[in-house]
Assembly symmetry: none
DNA sequence: GTGGTCTAGACCACC
DNA sequence: GTGGTCTAGACCACC
């Protein structure tokens, strides 16, 4: 697959890996129930140590992104649904983080808005649409 | 001051503290050059371990939010400017994180958009406005 | 059946499921020899990944709570008896865990005692009573 | 110090270590703010690998038992206080776990009660007493 | 000095 | 085959 990792970047390798896998799940490159490459396989491919992959996988499991079964392998977990209110609170927190980040970056409100719109357009298909649920399959 | 931490929440206390200080800086409750409470003082007030405060301050310093002068104390740092391109890259990354988070939360695109607009409105005054950057040139 | 899981809670789903099944067995909602729902069935019902159910079942089997017969399904196992001494050691360990937990929660001794009495009253019928062990001899 | 570890026991070493440290904190052998032995030191003493100690310490930090500061060391954290209601819920859960465990062990209600009383007596001094708070120091 | 990450590779349990 | 734990030891950032 298309994971890559930069040991020089300063960001720990297992963190880089986690972020890429999360993104892959969120963008649909990895789908619910799909089997992840084995720890060894991915380690070989990225020429990193199996322990490093293992650490990434373990944290992803703790975060509910993947599910691991001994002797079987790791699988992309079903997406969490949570109660609507908790969802709103978490979203609010995420947006606040974005605003704080934008402030720190001295990004002005217009730039932020424009970039948000662009990014959202690119993600629109992946984010669940209002009336549709994600198991019906058709997304007319 | 008005910091509060919930030791039971699962989120490490120093992370909670960092987030609140960052927010305080971003919302103007703490202003450039303002002196932070001493590690000891804040620890006493929150009845947490001084090491916890120290860890928060250390990370905030590494992130450029505050600056520490030996024997004088810690102060809110001048906001970073960075090159425009780095700014864009960092913003893009922050937006991507938001999208991934929204996906994990099963938030649909419309909800995300609406909540973003609301949040942005609340923050508009703090984020530098298009035509009036705070010290550099305007780039309308 | 009436299992429920909260994917947002931070506690791994398979752990939540295990705890509920253990409780169901201990409270008599599931009885010795009773057939468990199949992995698939339970996964569908809870809209979680079959691997998640599988992991819960695997651990329950290792703990001796259920037994799995290939091609037949899983069944609630007969309760273990163990030697009296092992029983005492295990009980002592469980009580120690409770004390440590109570300490971490800053619960005082009186509160712990009262709550224990209340809880025990609610469980008294399920726990084998002194004079009437369920199949072995009585040791009044 | 008096930690010990049995590599043959089947229980992972880092779990054994975590349990002992938790107990040490709960019984007052380790007190708030006290510095933990360094990762290397403890590894040498127990003749286990520093990584194993490190794993234990990292999990303890996640659980709020200790606090780690890079370059300084690890310290016993201030005890969590949490809101009273959450405290009650957590206690209720812990008691329920005990009951389930007792059931699985075929322990009868009387035995459980007696053993609880004994254990509680041994712990009474450590568990915060009703009217006293834990920072006044005197414990008449 | 401190902890954090990583490699290389062993051995284990479970399938 | 799968992941989990552990060793031995390197190198890093931070103090």
């Amino acid at each position: 697959m298309w994971y890559y990792v930069d040991p020089q970047s300063g960001v720990p390798i297992y963190v880089q890996l986690k972020e890429q896998i999360k993104k892959a799940v969120a963008t649909g490159l990895l789908t619910e129930g799909e089997q992840m490459p084995s720890v060894r396989e991915l380690a070989l491919q990225l020429t990193i140590n199996p322990n490093t992959v293992s650490k990434a996988y373990q944290e992803l499991e703790r975060e509910g992104i993947i599910q691991t079964a001994r002797g079987l392998g790791s699988f992309v977990a079903k997406r969490q649904k949570g109660k609507e209110q908790e969802q709103k609170i978490a979203l609010d927190k995420a947006l606040e983080k974005l605003m704080i980040e934008a402030y720190q970056l001295s990004v002005d409100a217009d730039t932020l808005h424009n970039e948000f719109i662009d990014k959202l357009a690119a993600w629109k298909d992946r984010l669940v649409k209002g009336a549709q649920n994600n198991d019906s399959g058709n997304r007319t």
